[in-house]
Amino acid sequence: MRKLSRIMAFMIALVPALGAPVAFADGKSLVAANKCGDCHKMAGPSAATIAEVLKRKAPDLFYAGSKFNKEWLVGYLQKPTVVRPGGVVYLNNIKTAGDTDTVGSVDKCASKLSAGDAAQVADYLMTLKDASMKAGAFKKGEIKSAQARRVLFKEQACDACHDFGKGGGLSCPTMVGAGARLNPDWMYSFIKDPVHWDPKVWMAKRDFDEATLQLIVNFLVTQ
């Protein structure tokens, strides 16, 4: 009888492990082992005050599964690059000489994973989602480059803060490779309401209509 109850206890203990996909569990362990949480917020909410923003060392990852494309994550985790030329919080990387600001050294993510580990971590990160984000909000359509460029560069001057590959601002993430990096539904959501994702974001919120949002995101996926 005692033996039977031991077997039963073992099987009960095994149930959660069998219930969760192995890759996710391993990815989560790797995130812990690599101490990703020391720099990234792995659980929400995002910083709600400027003081908290200034303590941010790396982008929030608690909605990574909504934000990123998995294939990009797998590559990035093996070979990190600088996505934000001014650093995660540009204010923390400013060097001032006289009255002129420049950007000091911006470090890449220190973690560099093997292909296998990167795939597992990416699998896990893709499970971290913001349930309120509407999937399918982005409608793939005709890419109207000239029209999109007029909105992005002439009307909104997005290149004042973002680099589009031809020399642009440094305080916000580069848009070079945005299509590979970002989930278009997230781009749509972020542009529509950046404050939803980051209450203290320094990107202005515009009131774009639906057609303009689709025009912009259709262009950005080509970047």
Binding site: A48, T49, I50, A51, V53, G86, Y90, L91, I94, T96, G98, D99, T100, D101, T102, V103, K154, E155, Q156, A157, D159, A160, C161, G167, G168, G169, L170, S171, V195, K200, V201, W202, A204, K205, R206, D207
Partner: protein, 127 residues
């Protein structure tokens, strides 16, 4: 019945007011100083010295305004500066490179920023 209802209504009003005050206090506690808002939103282009030499400035076709220049800043009314911050440069006939911050900052925070700018230029707005 009216005798009972009147004090009840008065209590409900008092409670609503008290709750409103509490909520307002909470909001105030989380409000940022104008100096901090300037740092987060304005320094990227206008620079930490406020002279228009922020990290994005070299990439702009129109130089960001020098907020310490009393002559230039003195030519702008407070209403004009408020509108430029809230609705962007285009709203006051200036560059699209000055974005609208009305979606990030409420009117009270923008008014505080205008006061902060007046402190930076040590000047008054055009009347």
């Amino acid at each position: 019945m009216r005798k009972i209802m009147k004090p009840l209504a008065a209590s409900a009003t008092a409670m609503t007011l008290a709750l409103g005050t509490l909520l307002l206090s909470a909001t105030d506690a989380r409000a940022e100083s104008a100096a901090d808002n300037y740092k987060l939103y304005c320094v990227q282009c206008h620079g930490s010295a406020g002279t228009g030499k922020g990290i994005n400035a070299p990439f702009l076709s129109v130089a960001p305004r020098n907020h310490t220049n009393a002559k230039d800043m003195g030519e702008l009314s407070d209403d004009n500066v408020f509108k430029a911050i809230k609705e962007g440069g285009v709203a006051v006939g200036k560059s699209t490179q000055m974005p609208p911050f009305g979606g990030l900052l409420n009117d009270a925070a923008i008014k505080d920023l205008v006061k902060h700018l007046r402190g930076m230029c040590k000047c008054e707005g055009k009347k």
